[in-house]
């Protein structure tokens, strides 16, 4: 079980904080993308092709794609957060054992 610990207490705590921030921010970004917020237009990867034909639906589809990317990244951060949390707990246990 000792080999499961691969980072020190500070790195694990940083990872935990980063994951919490990542989950919240990426989830909110995902929501804003799937509701087609106009302010985020610069972040949508559209090209000239998308403006031919059903322009509005094309752009909405791209918005949704980016939104789903954000949600998947948020889920990945949930995983990283869980990993960091385990590392934090293992580090605390190791500290108690030494003393």
């Amino acid at each position: 079980m000792a080999s499961l610990l691969f980072c020190g207490p500070k790195l694990a705590a940083c990872g935990l904080v980063l994951s919490i921030w990542g989950v919240i921010m990426l989830a909110m970004l995902g929501i804003f993308f799937t509701t087609h917020s106009a302010v985020l237009i610069e972040d949508v990867p559209f090209t000239e092709e998308d403006f031919k034909g059903e322009a509005l639906q094309n752009i909405y589809k791209l918005y949704n794609q980016v939104g789903y990317n954000c949600f998947i990244a948020a889920v990945l951060y949930v995983g990283i957060g869980f990993l960091s949390f385990c590392q934090v707990r293992l580090n605390k246990r190791k500290e108690y054992l030494v003393h």
């Binding site: 980063l18 990542g22 990317n69 990244a73």
Partner: protein
């Protein structure tokens, strides 16, 4: 009444108490932490004071305690923390403590000495042991050399004698028959071995055999002696006086020589005895270490308690040195500064102290009047402490001067937030501050200077974060993106055909198009409910709009801040009853500032309120410059009717205030001096009592110590500083605009260059890239935008307070009230 508005009223109090109750009384006052002892023997040097021996004793005890603590840390013994308030020992207990400490120190030093000696013995025995083991091979070899005279085989032992030397010796041995070889064995440091070999070579021209091996470093050896590498060597030589020479050479190279028995049987016996000796030594060493650990553990339980006792005693003796002891040696006189509102507390503490010491006489408090300036004391709690500290860092306020701290609690975080203005970053900062506040006690244990600064300013950071969220909502900026909560007031669709000039083809022809607010429907007529309209976030001329807005806002905030500072000077004048100064300084300053910069604010606000076409609108800066230069040419557009007259009047008023500031006050001082001098002369002529008038005349001359020239110069400097300072200080407030622009742009660059790259990848790998890029974005946000920009905005907001705001009213020439307080003593020295 204690409040943060003004520093507390202090009084000088004389204390009389008995010598026996001195310790207890002073310790009670120390626990109270409200009195500052004045030095009644200022001319006496430190080593001439009465209690200097006792102070030295305390310092000696502190030294012993430090030594003990170091030893405990070396042996990894935990020092228990004590929390109860210990009673300060009286003089008898001091002696007892002192003897305990000395005994402990002696014991510990002896243990350490013995330990070192034992260890040295162990090292020697280990050397002998490995020597015996290694030289087995050499002896066998030597015997084979004697009997067989063939060249020695090359094995793991390194050859240091070249082959032709061997052959020479072999030839020697073959001619002279049986040889008697004696040997010298020893241990030398590996790095010295080559030099050693060379010297031997030069001395004896190869008439010797030298064998050496590196000593195997076992773990135990390494633990005992460290990582020094040593070699075992053995020299075989002929003749005895050669031995003496070699012995001297070995001494020179600091090789330790050991006598080695000649026969195998003796060597085995010696090896066995060395083994048993080593076992014994190891056991003794272990016992010594256990004993030492026991002594230290027993001491560790009390060491903190002792430490705080010693510190308190030292503080008490130091304080006693400041007091006067009267002739009968029974009474101690002390003078203390103390807040008027706390006199009863001080009295009850003294009574408690004298009761504890069992003396019958209660101490006497005698309040005396004095001309000396008392120290400045501002009563703060944990929240206001930080803000008071940043005011005091510039200068402690003069006694009874108005304290800028309560206003700083609001204006400082606000000015910071104007420069920081991002609600996402503000939220992160607020959460960080909340965490530091909740963990303040455990973070203090880190004892790092940087963390101490952060912990001291935790409430400041909290307020800065909360205000930043507010200004972030006003700038509508959250990690460089805007929120559209209330619906934008601008609409693009009416620009197209039927209402407006655009067609579908217009979109293909032009890269940039401008929304025209005069086309009906494009601008709804009502501005966005709260803050900047979110449409500006995606407009390409965002910066021209925001720059103009932020610059004007900075000027408005700056002039208001400075006017507030000038108004505070009025409060000071009223308190100190300098009514003359109100009319000669406050009123002209206010008029000067209002007529020039107040009018500037009026122009800004007026221009914002009326409707203008942007092509023909006059620039406020040009209007202001022309106003000062009296430049009114007919083609210049003015904002309202009658502007020319109003402006000429205002400029003339301002210019008129300058000689008022410059000349009137010195002139009045000159006139009063002339009058008193005539008065004194007349008294001198009329009266016949020469001595009285001469003394009163010299008194007046003493009052006139500052000459008239100095007064004029001082007033001129003050006037120029104020008038020119008005302009430069107003411009200085433009840093509010500059820093908020820098922050917004940095934030946008970070989003665009880091996070947007991940968002724009539309394939499946997009989420993985997003994970990595988000981590980079977060780290860069924290380091660059929060820490770097935060420090920068903090510094600039601080400068605006210290220079532009406080030079309108703050003198800051007082000295801080430093009471005798055991709590702060123990906290700072921990």
């Amino acid at each position: 009444m204690s409040s943060l508005f003004r520093s507390e009223e202090m009084c000088l109090v004389q204390l009389f108490f008995q010598t026996e109750s001195a310790h207890n009384c002073i310790s009670e006052l120390g626990h109270l932490g409200l009195v500052q002892f004045k030095d009644l023997n200022p001319g006496v040097a430190a080593f001439q004071r009465r209690f200097v021996k006792e102070v030295k004793k305390c310092e000696e005890m502190e030294r012993i305690l430090r030594y003990l603590e170091k030893e405990m840390v070396k042996s990894n013994i935990v020092i228990a923390a004590t929390k109860e308030k210990e009673m300060v020992p009286c003089a008898r207990d001091v002696l007892e403590l002192e003897s305990t400490f000395e005994k402990l120190e002696q014991e510990l030093r002896e243990i350490n000495r013995n330990h070192a000696a034992l260890r040295q013995n162990l090292i020697e025995l280990m050397d002998i042991d490995s020597l015996l083991r290694m030289t087995e091979d050499f002896f066998e070899e030597a015997e084979s050399l004697l009997t067989y005279s063939e060249p020695p085989s090359e094995d793991s032992v390194s050859m240091t004698v070249s082959s032709h030397i061997t052959s020479r010796r072999n030839s020697n041995s073959s001619t002279s028959g049986a040889l008697h070889l004696s040997f010298i064995a020893g241990v030398i440091k590996q790095e010295r071995f080559p030099a050693f070999e060379k010297v031997l070579w030069r001395l004896f021209h190869g008439n010797f055999v030298l064998r050496h091996t590196e000593m195997q470093a076992t773990e135990e050896l390494q633990a005992v002696r460290g990582a020094v590498k040593k070699d075992v060597f053995i020299i075989f030589v002929q003749g005895d006086h050669v031995r003496e020479k070699i012995r001297k050479v070995c001494e020179g190279f600091r090789a330790s020589l050991y006598s080695c028995p000649k026969t195998l049987y003796e060597r085995k016996q010696m090896s066995n005895s060395v083994m048993t000796q080593m076992e014994d030594l190891r056991m003794i060493l272990r016992r010594t270490e256990e004993y030492r650990a026991g002594v230290l553990t027993r001491a560790a339980e009390h060491v903190q308690e002792w430490g705080s006792k010693v510190k308190k005693m030292k503080a008490i003796y130091y304080t006693l040195n400041l007091c006067n002891i009267d002739i009968t040696q029974k009474l101690i006189v002390a003078e203390i500064w103390c807040p008027v509102s706390d006199l009863t507390l001080v009295q009850s503490a003294l009574i408690k102290g004298s009761e504890q010491s069992g003396s019958s006489v209660t101490p006497v408090l005698n309040r005396i009047q004095t001309q000396q300036t008392p120290p400045t004391f501002n009563r703060t709690n944990t929240f206001t402490e930080g803000f008071q500290a940043i005011i005091d860092a510039y200068g402690v306020g003069t006694y009874l001067e108005i304290n800028p701290a309560p206003y700083t609690i609001v204006t400082f975080p606000f000015l910071f937030a104007v420069m920081f203005g991002d609600c996402g970053h503000g939220l992160v900062m607020t959460l960080f501050a909340v965490w530091v506040i909740s963990q303040a006690e455990s973070l203090r244990k880190w004892k790092n200077e940087l963390t101490d600064v952060v912990i001291g300013g935790r409430y400041i950071i909290l307020l800065m974060g909360m205000f930043s969220i507010y200004t972030g909502l006003i700038y509508n900026d959250c990690f460089s993106k805007s929120f559209n909560i209330f619906g934008s007031s601008w609409c693009v669709r009416p620009m197209f055909h039927a209402h407006g000039p655009w067609q579908n083809e217009t979109l293909h022809e032009y890269h940039h198009l401008q929304l025209n607010p005069f086309v009906p429907g494009v601008y709804s007529g009502d501005p966005y409910v709260f803050g900047i309209d979110p449409v500006w976030n995606i407009a390409s001329n965002k910066l021209s709009f925001l720059n103009s807005f932020k610059m004007k806002m900075s000027v408005i905030l700056g002039v208001s801040h400075m006017l507030f500072g000038v108004a505070l000077s009025l409060v000071n004048f009223v308190h100190f009853r300098k009514f003359q100064d109100i009319f000669l300084q406050f009123v002209p300053q206010l008029i000067f500032m209002l007529s020039l910069f107040g009018y500037l604010i009026f122009l800004i606000l007026y221009k914002w309120c009326i409707t203008l076409r942007s092509e023909t609108a006059p620039s406020i800066l040009l209007l202001f410059i022309n106003m000062m230069l009296f430049d009114y040419q007919s083609e210049h557009v003015l904002l309202y009717r009658g502007q020319k007259g109003v402006q000429i009047f205002l400029v003339l008023t301002a210019v008129l205030m300058v000689p008022v500031l410059l000349l009137v006050k010195p002139f009045l001082i000159y006139r009063t001096r002339m009058k008193t001098r005539h008065q004194v002369f007349r008294n001198n002529l009329n009266d016949q009592h020469g001595t009285d008038t001469r003394s009163s005349y010299s008194q007046h001359q003493k009052d006139e110590m500052v000459s008239m020239g100095d007064i004029f110069v001082y007033q001129a400097i003050h006037t120029i500083e104020f008038c020119l300072g008005c302009i430069s200080n107003t411009t200085s407030y433009l840093r509010l605009w500059a820093l908020s622009l820098a922050h917004a742009e940095l934030s946008e660059v970070l989003w665009r260059m880091v996070l947007q790259v991940g968002l724009k990848i539309s394939s499946g790998m997009g989420s993985l890239m997003l994970v990595v890029l988000f981590a980079a974005f977060a780290v860069l946000t924290v380091t660059v935008l929060l820490i770097m920009e935060g420090l920068s905005a903090f510094l600039h907001a601080l400068r605006l307070h210290w220079v532009e705001f406080q030079n309108k009213f703050y003198e800051g020439s007082g000295y801080k009230f430093t009471p005798l307080s055991f709590d702060s003593l123990l906290k700072t020295q921990q």
